[in-house]
């Protein structure tokens, strides 16, 4: 006979205590999809919102992420001399990704960067939407098909805000990089702004899907910025996204091995896609969950 505690746990899990309650899909009443009303986020970009965000990011977010994990940031030199706005295009496998990018960016970029966040996840209830908008300068992105595309990202780029986009549309289920949708590339081609690929490795091992807090053990995470890329004249969003994707794969390879080897493999067209090993799902998850090495082996200079 289950104990009271077990029973309470079952009920708490079954009825999602503390989370949104969900109706089984087959029990959802039919309702024509209403035209989504976008959650207003302009207030988060007013001087007061910016000041509050700067304080949250500097005093809460960064100390929190940096104390629980061990981020290593590379390639910020690629942003030297670059004038915004840009579209940061990153792979996505953890809730840590957005704070890692925002908090690793230099101050002048950070204060002018917004993040595209899933409307159905982060903007479903007012308090979560307001918190996300304030802390991350986030704006809602509709990821379900058939909805009217919001003009917010174009407007933001026009106003000089850089944007962080995760073109996979959701966090990776196995820790590896999935298919990139061309929306981010379309932003670049339409607005004529460069894209900056960002490869994030190790965040899945540190805090995979389903966790609300990083695993203990200060897992290393690598955030590697690539060179800005501009769409060629007449280049389609699909073609540009393929180039971005290849560039991100090189960054991933560079982070995995070293810059020179990655360059050689790229020149030979042998850059492996960051899609992980083939085989059953557990092997892919197993490999992606392996923490990054804490210290890179350096060649010994003095014997």
């Amino acid at each position: 006979m289950p104990s009271l505690l077990d029973e309470v746990r079952d009920v708490a899990r079954g009825w999602r205590w503390g989370r949104r309650s969900l109706v089984p899909r087959s029990a959802e009443p039919f309702a024509p999809t209403p035209e989504p009303r976008e959650f207003p986020t302009e207030w988060a970009r007013t001087p007061a919102g910016r000041a509050a965000r700067a304080a949250i990011q500097r005093l809460v977010l960064r100390p929190l992420v940096w104390s629980q994990t061990e981020p290593r940031v590379h390639g910020l030199d690629n942003l030297e001399g670059l004038r915004g706005p840009v579209v940061f295009v990153a792979n996505h496998s953890s809730h840590l990704d957005a704070p890692l990018i925002l908090c690793s960016l230099p101050e002048r970029w950070r204060r002018r960067t917004a993040v595209g966040a899933a409307a159905d996840y982060f903007f479903d209830v007012w308090w979560r939407a307001a918190g996300t908008a304030l802390a991350f300068n986030a704006f809602p992105v509709e990821r379900s098909g058939g909805r009217r595309l919001s003009d917010t990202p174009w407007r933001l780029l026009g106003e000089g805000w850089s944007i962080v986009v995760f073109p996979e549309g959701t966090r990776s289920k196995d820790g590896w990089v999935g298919r990139f949708r061309p929306g981010a590339a379309r932003l670049c081609t339409d607005a004529g702004v460069p894209a900056v690929p960002v490869a994030i490795r190790g965040s899945f091992a540190a805090m995979p899907r389903g966790r609300g807090w990083p695993r203990s053990g200060h897992y290393p995470i690598s955030v590697r910025y690539g060179r800005p890329m501009r769409p060629d004249p007449g280049e389609t969003p699909g073609a540009f996204m393929r180039r971005i994707s290849l560039s991100l794969a090189r960054l991933w390879d560079e982070d995995h091995l070293d810059w020179w080897t990655a360059q050689v493999r790229a020149a030979r067209g042998q850059t492996p896609p960051p899609a992980g090993p083939t085989g059953p799902r557990w092997i892919r998850v197993w490999e992606a969950s392996r923490p990054l090495p804490r210290h890179r082996a350096r060649p010994r200079v003095w014997s």
């Binding site: 079952d10 009825w15 109706v23 089984p24 899909r25």
Partner: protein, 525 residues
């Protein structure tokens, strides 16, 4: 407007589902893809039940208004359904009381003096005075008990009248008082589609000699299902008897239908779909479950026995039996029918603490079988919910326990008959006569509060169609000795039961869970 019934498909969002387990209940996770059949939400009750009864009596279907059938000097008999309906017993006032009071009011006004009320208990146990009072109300009870309000006695040689044979040679023998009345008013509660119609008088007031023509294995095997009267040989036989009776006797039928408000507010979560449980429902479930688990068996039983359903009356129809019953059935279907697409490999049912034959009593193993393989298996129209050769998984502890006053012949049936065979046909041919005519059982039926000696046989026949149809029957949490005696299998957990069923239905079976009570009648396409 209340929502119709529907079939849920279990997905990762689905919370664990409530399953009845005899005198208890629990939450159970079902495999993804399991279909769950939910009854329609409770229909709104009639705002003025007494008014509706009066309207029905004054504007009957296929008959003159009741006052026109009443006259001074006539012999009036009023019969009504016994304690087996409704389940759980209804919170007072019972709708039968309301109908009886209206009918008696009219009879008094019309100068009828020779009035008798009879509980149509057939071969069921005699109701106690207290139980009768709860059904008919204090006013009627005080006026008529005990001289003119009594239980029917199917073994009283002087109290029976032989009417004749139907065109199929079925004997019709009913209460002499009813047969010799100028008017018989029958008051029913139509809880399920099986009840009412011509089944009321020929069965409720019939003797063993009459009942054996339809309460037998062959009829039950050809009643597919007996919750669907047009497809039921049982109802076909009862209809022939009823029509014969109608040629000899004026019958005025009053039928009532109830909504699905089966459990009182304290157990409100039992009436609701799980994903709609409020925090209060969840807390109510946890409190009820833990209190139930912690309580001694006697207290637990007492708490369940005291449950009174807050049923609302959804319809009252009166007049000629067949015309009335057509409307009544439509009302029952409106409340219970759910369209289900296709059969499945496994049917899962959680059996509640009560069935028609253990009100204020104990649900013994034979009644458990009857409730599961009889009633719940037959809650279909067109085709069973489970395919031929499929498996049925039932949740019930099936304790080896009997009420020796109410069910004396059950004890012997279980110990003697089932020890030899569980085959309904063999049981019928070898043992039925002996039990049906045993003088001791007859004595207990007439003078104590015992079910008739033949009653456990009928309960076993009630499951004959399911036994014939199913490939495997597994009781989750069932007492192994008891379950084995009945020829079934027991599993400790639902997972084990599914594993055992896979031997019969393959490794990736389709599963349907009939989420009941409240009652649902599956119309399987």
């Amino acid at each position: 407007m209340s929502r119709p019934g529907f079939v849920l498909e279990v997905d990762e969002r689905t919370p664990p589902l409530l399953v009845h387990r005899g005198e208890g209940f629990g939450l159970q996770r079902f495999p993804l893809g399991t279909r769950v059949v939910y009854p329609p939400d409770s229909l709104p009750p009639l705002p003025d039940v007494r008014g509706a009864i009066r309207t029905a009596l004054l504007n009957p279907l296929g008959s003159e208004p009741l006052p026109e059938l009443l006259r001074p000097g006539m012999r009036l008999t009023i019969a009504f359904d016994d304690i087996s309906l409704p389940l759980p017993p209804m919170r007072p006032p019972d709708v039968r009381q309301l109908v009886l009071e209206e009918v008696l009011e009219l009879a008094a006004r019309r100068g009828v003096e020779d009035v008798e009320l009879i509980v149509a208990n057939s071969l069921h146990r005699r109701m106690t005075a207290k139980e009768i009072e709860r059904v008919v109300g204090e006013r009627v009870f005080r006026s008529f008990w005990p001289e003119r309000l009594r239980n029917f006695d199917a073994e009283d040689p002087d109290g029976l009248a032989y009417i004749g044979k139907t065109d199929k040679g079925e004997d019709v023998e009913i209460s002499r008082r009813a047969a010799q009345s100028d008017l018989l008013v029958y008051v029913n509660i139509n809880l399920v589609a099986m009840d009412g119609g011509h089944k009321s008088v020929p069965v409720g007031m019939g003797s063993y000699r009459s009942l054996r023509h339809h309460h037998n294995v062959n009829t039950m095997l050809h009643s597919r299902s007996y919750m669907d009267p047009p497809s039921s040989a049982l109802h076909g036989s009862a209809a022939r008897m009823g029509r014969l009776l109608a040629n000899h006797l004026r019958i005025f039928t009053v039928e009532t239908t109830l909504n699905n408000e089966t459990f009182p507010r304290e157990f409100g979560f039992l009436n609701r779909r799980e994903w709609e449980w409020s925090l209060r429902d969840q807390a109510g479930y946890l409190a009820a479950r833990k209190a139930n688990d912690a309580a001694p068996a006697r207290i637990r039983r007492e708490v369940f026995r005291r449950i009174r359903a807050p049923y609302g009356v959804t319809g009252v129809h009166a007049g000629e039996t067949e015309a009335v019953h057509e409307r009544t059935l439509a009302g029952v279907h409106r409340q219970q029918k759910v369209e289900v697409s296709g059969q499945s490999d496994i049917l899962v049912v959680g059996l509640p603490y009560i069935c028609p034959y253990n009100v204020n009593s104990i649900m013994n193993p034979i009644l458990v079988m009857c409730l599961g393989l009889g009633y719940f298996f037959n809650m279909y129209v067109n085709r069973p919910l489970v395919r031929p050769g499929g498996a049925m998984i039932l949740f019930h502890p099936v304790p080896w326990e009997f009420h020796t006053v109410h069910h004396p012949s059950y004890v012997d049936f279980f110990e003697e008959v089932l020890a030899e065979t569980t085959d309904p046909a063999q049981i019928e041919s070898k043992f039925e006569q002996q039990y049906a005519t045993d003088p001791w059982y007859v004595h207990l039926y007439r003078n104590s509060h015992a079910y008739h000696g033949v009653h456990p046989f009928y309960m076993w026949y009630w499951g004959a169609h399911a036994l014939d149809h199913l490939g495997d029957v597994i009781f989750v949490g069932g007492d192994r000795r008891t379950v084995r005696r009945m020829g079934f299998r027991a599993a400790s957990t639902f997972a084990d039961a599914l594993e055992m069923a896979r031997e019969r239905v393959g490794s990736s079976p389709t599963i349907t869970y009939l989420h009941s009570p409240p009652l649902a009648l599956a119309e399987v396409r």
